[in-house]
């Protein structure tokens, strides 16, 4: 009598079933490895599925271990390589492994936009902009309307100060998918840099409605300030001020709004200065309160030991001082400060080094938008 066929493994089916919850996937894959008699092919499937479950639970070490074992069993399996690359890239922080794996996939499978974009983003994270640019361009050759590629590519162009080209790519991206919120947000910013405030506000309205936890309210606030919508601007600046002291320089813009409306925002500004207990931007805010000089504020901005933050503080100082002089009628003096702020450009730094505990990044988005707009006005 022939031996009966081996019983179907108990746990294997649940492990690989698409409808299994993450809990069931991890548990049944684990039990399958312990109890089911698996061949190498099944074992690879189980490891791959469990790794995806671990990744979903944010257990990167366990996921990477499973994928390493799967890779050992099936070194040429591109599904394993892709999973390992994605995990290294999105969770593990090992861009070197991700890049090697994406390259291997492209070499074996040929170019495909999805992998090229992932490779490009991995390069971006490693600050290898030239290689990132090449990969994005290849992806866009194959798929000119690839929204992800266009959006990410625009960030390189912005970093290279090619603002018009960045905006053009983002226009294409929004045309390809008007519902992509990230792209809307990026285009909103690019429109503000270009001085197209009303369109920029429209995009930011959509983006902020979808992500009310975002911190870009101040950017919309600046566009509103520049177009005379002071109540809305005041509300947006206040929103960011309530998030973190990282945005304390916005208090100056609320002071300017009060001034433009003929009221006195001095008491509120003084309250913020007091709460900062000498920390930046207290020296800057004190200038508009008449308690110190512009030079003192610039010295204070330059005295922070962290170069990136130093430039951000300097940009904040120049933007506020320029506006302050403009309000006092000193157009020539204002222009010098706006030029300095514009020349510092778009920067981002993590303010945690200064605030000790905060992890909210500081940037020059607001200042850069203002400086470019004001310089355009002054040139006219």
């Amino acid at each position: 009598m022939a031996a009966p066929a081996m019983a179907v493994p108990r746990y294997f089916d649940d492990c690989v079933a698409a409808e299994s919850t993450i809990f069931l996937r991890i548990e049944s894959c684990t039990f399958s490895l312990q109890a089911d008699g698996l061949d190498d092919k099944q074992r690879v499937q189980v490891l791959l599925n469990r790794a995806k479950g671990y990744a979903a639970r944010f257990w990167p070490k366990q996921a990477l271990d499973d994928l390493a074992e799967a890779k050992r069993l099936a070194p040429d399996d591109l599904e394993v390589t892709a999973a390992q690359a994605d995990l290294s890239h999105f969770i593990g922080g090992r861009e070197d492994i991700a890049i090697a794996d994406y390259k291997e996939i492209l070499q074996k499978k040929g170019d495909d936009p999805e992998t090229l974009v992932k490779l490009a983003v991995a390069y971006l994270v490693r600050k290898q902009d030239d290689l990132a640019r090449q990969s994005f361009e290849k992806a866009l050759d194959l798929d000119p309307d690839n929204v992800e590629a266009l959006t990410w590519y625009s960030t390189i162009l912005t970093r290279d100060k090619q603002y018009d080209r960045a905006l053009a790519e983002l226009e294409r991206a929004v045309a390809a998918d008007p519902n992509d919120i990230t792209t809307r947000s990026y285009r909103g910013q690019a429109l503000l840099y270009a001085g197209a405030f009303d369109r920029g506000i429209e995009d930011l309205n959509i983006a902020l409605k979808a992500h009310p936890d975002d911190t870009q309210f101040r950017l919309r606030g600046m566009a509103e300030y520049l177009t005379g919508k002071f109540s809305l601007a005041d509300e947006d600046f206040l929103h960011n001020l309530n998030i973190s002291p990282t945005y304390a320089s916005l208090a100056a813009w609320r002071f300017f709004i009060a001034l433009r409306r003929g009221s006195d925002g001095g008491a509120e500004l003084q309250r913020i200065v007091d709460s900062l207990a000498g920390r930046w931007p207290a020296p800057l805010l004190k200038v508009v309160l008449g308690q110190t000089t512009a030079d003192d504020a610039l010295v204070a901005a330059a005295s922070t030991p962290y170069p990136e933050l130093r430039q951000i503080y300097q940009s904040q100082a120049h933007a506020v001082l320029g506006e302050w002089l403009l309000l006092k009628g000193d157009k020539a003096g204002a222009a010098i400060h706006f030029e300095a702020s514009r020349d510092i450009g778009l920067l981002t730094a993590v303010a945690e080094v200064e605030t000790g505990r905060s992890v909210i990044p500081a940037d020059t988005l607001v200042e850069f938008t203002l400086a470019r707009a004001r310089l355009r006005e002054l040139e006219q």
Binding site: A17, T21, F23, E27, A35, E352, V353, G356, R357
Partner: protein, 494 residues
């Protein structure tokens, strides 16, 4: 020959220089600078007299200010400490301690940037100052400058191979990066530098092995540590915990009893002994130990959670409710369910239904909420909640088979077979739970005999807990409620 003659003279000169730095100005100086047996207020007075005396040379005046600052620091007068450290720095910018102490003051207040600045200044003056690099590393870590923090800790153990503070942090850092061999090499170097090693160093070695989940090797290290210092509380307690992990409960109890005797004022020995007793079926003793733990530290949430489980197991449902209510639901998501179940156990079905209903709204993905709502509503003569069908259809883990059994789509045998999984702890927990729920359902169906058989089996299996480090996610990690309720049912209390 001349060189040989010169050597003793050089030694004498060096000794004299050292003495010159250690001038003695009498008893006040001894108390202020060297803290010869004295209380802090006496030290403060002595420093005050030395400072106001007006006859100290500048470097010694700086020392007096620095030491008075330290006294203020210890007394909690932070502003005065700050002022004295700053005065000391001004008077003698080359003295390292005022920078170190001011750095610590800033660090304690959470001003990490300022603390780092002070530690950096101290480092420039004396890179070999003990504890400095470790403190600096901690500050860098707080500032999220992890690579620099690691470098600081590593520099510290380069200079002082057995420096405990940095070793402790490096073990965590290396373990996080899977660099276990580096961690072991570091601890071994520390042990070699120390001759035969200390109990603390072997404790560190055990910590690495435990992180590697090599519990037997960890136990070997702890055995050495206890041999070196049988009265060192930390290692005795940790060995007790390790033996519990290895399920060697009798030996574990000897160690944990000893740990309690060594430091009856420490809550964690009670916590670990309670944990052991829970696993060993000594539920009343466990409950007592968790109560002791909480009397020493009222907000110890581990003792609250385990105490609540012990309360269920001993049938003290009032205490279980009280402990469940004291747990913040933000961090202990299923505490409100336990609170409801304690009400169920006390016979207040209406209150239990209301609590569990609220829980199912708060945590709709927890199948235990729906399971319990169904049981309570059946007891109240109501139909099962309409959501039960959809929940039971989910392709999910335990207790899904019980939900399906309630809906009639799985037999009791299927439920028990589903509980029979390869992992021993999970099998034990699920089988105990399966038996309780099958017993409860049999009783509802009027089959008291069958119900008793199931309930007895649940109690016989007893308490089981799933180790989270198995990395198998579960909806509930222990069976205390079910075993406790089975025991209460058999006692005729439910």
């Amino acid at each position: 020959m001349r060189l040989l003659l010169a050597a003793p003279l050089l030694v004498l000169w060096l000794a004299a220089s050292a003495w010159a730095d250690d001038r003695d100005y009498g008893p006040d100086w001894q108390v202020c600078i060297y803290a010869v047996p004295s209380e802090l207020p006496d030290r403060l007075e002595a420093c005050n007299r030395m400072i106001s005396g007006g006859n100290l040379p500048t470097p010694d005046l700086a020392r007096a200010f620095s030491n008075r600052g330290k006294v203020y620091h210890l007394l909690g007068a932070r502003q005065k400490a700050f002022e004295d450290y700053s005065r000391a720095q001004l008077l003698d910018p080359k003295r390292v301690k005022p920078y170190f102490n001011l750095g610590m003051l800033y660090q304690e207040d959470g001003h990490y940037v300022e603390a780092l600045e002070q530690f950096d200044k101290a480092l420039a003056l004396d890179p070999r100052l003990e504890d400095l690099q470790c403190r600096r590393g901690v500050v860098l870590k707080e500032l999220h400058r992890f690579d620099e923090a690691t470098a600081a800790f590593e520099q510290a153990v380069q200079i002082f191979p057995a420096e405990a503070c940095s070793i402790g942090y490096l073990i965590e850092i290396y373990a996080f990066a899977d660099r276990f061999s580096d961690a072991l090499a570091m601890v071994d170097r520390a042990i070699r530098a120390n001759g035969q090693g200390t109990a603390q160093l072997y404790g560190f070695r055990a910590q690495v092995h435990e992180k590697m989940r090599q519990f037997e090797l960890a136990l070997e290290d702890l055995n050495r540590a206890v041999t070196l210092d049988p009265n060192y509380y930390n290692t005795v307690r940790t060995r007790g915990r390790m033996l519990t992990k290895l399920k060697r409960y009798d030996e574990a109890l000897v160690d944990l009893n000893r740990a309690v005797a060594l430091a009856p004022e420490f809550n964690d020995a009670y916590q670990w002994r309670g944990d052991l007793e829970l696993r060993n079926g000594a539920y009343h003793q466990a409950f007592d130990d968790f109560r002791r733990c909480l009397s020493l530290q009222r907000d110890n949430s581990v003792c609250k959670v385990l105490g609540m489980q012990a309360a269920f197991l001993t049938g003290d449902f009032a205490a279980a409710a009280q402990l469940a209510d004291s747990l913040p639901p933000k961090f202990f998501g299923n505490a409100p369910l336990h609170s409801g179940l304690a009400k169920f156990a006390r016979g207040d079905l209406a209150a239990a239904e209301a609590a569990v209903k609220t829980y199912t709204k708060m945590m709709p993905d927890d199948p235990y909420g729906w399971l319990w709502l169904t049981i309570i509503q059946r007891r109240l003569g109501k139909d099962a909640p309409p959501e039960l069908k959809d929940i039971a259809m989910r392709h999910d883990v335990w207790p899904m088979p019980i939900l399906r059994h309630m809906l009639g789509s799985a037999s009791a045998e299927t439920v028990l077979a589903a509980a029979d999984v390869p992992d021993a702890d999970i099998r034990k927990q699920r089988t105990a739970e399966a038996n309780y729920y099958l017993g409860e359902l049999a009783a509802m169906a009027g089959d008291e005999v069958k119900s008793k058989v199931y309930m007895k089996e649940s109690v016989a299996i007893g308490y089981a807990e799933i180790d989270p480090l198995n990395f198998i996610p579960v909806h509930k990690d222990n069976d205390a409620v079910e075993v406790g309720l089975a025991a209460a049912t058999l006692r005729g209390g439910l």
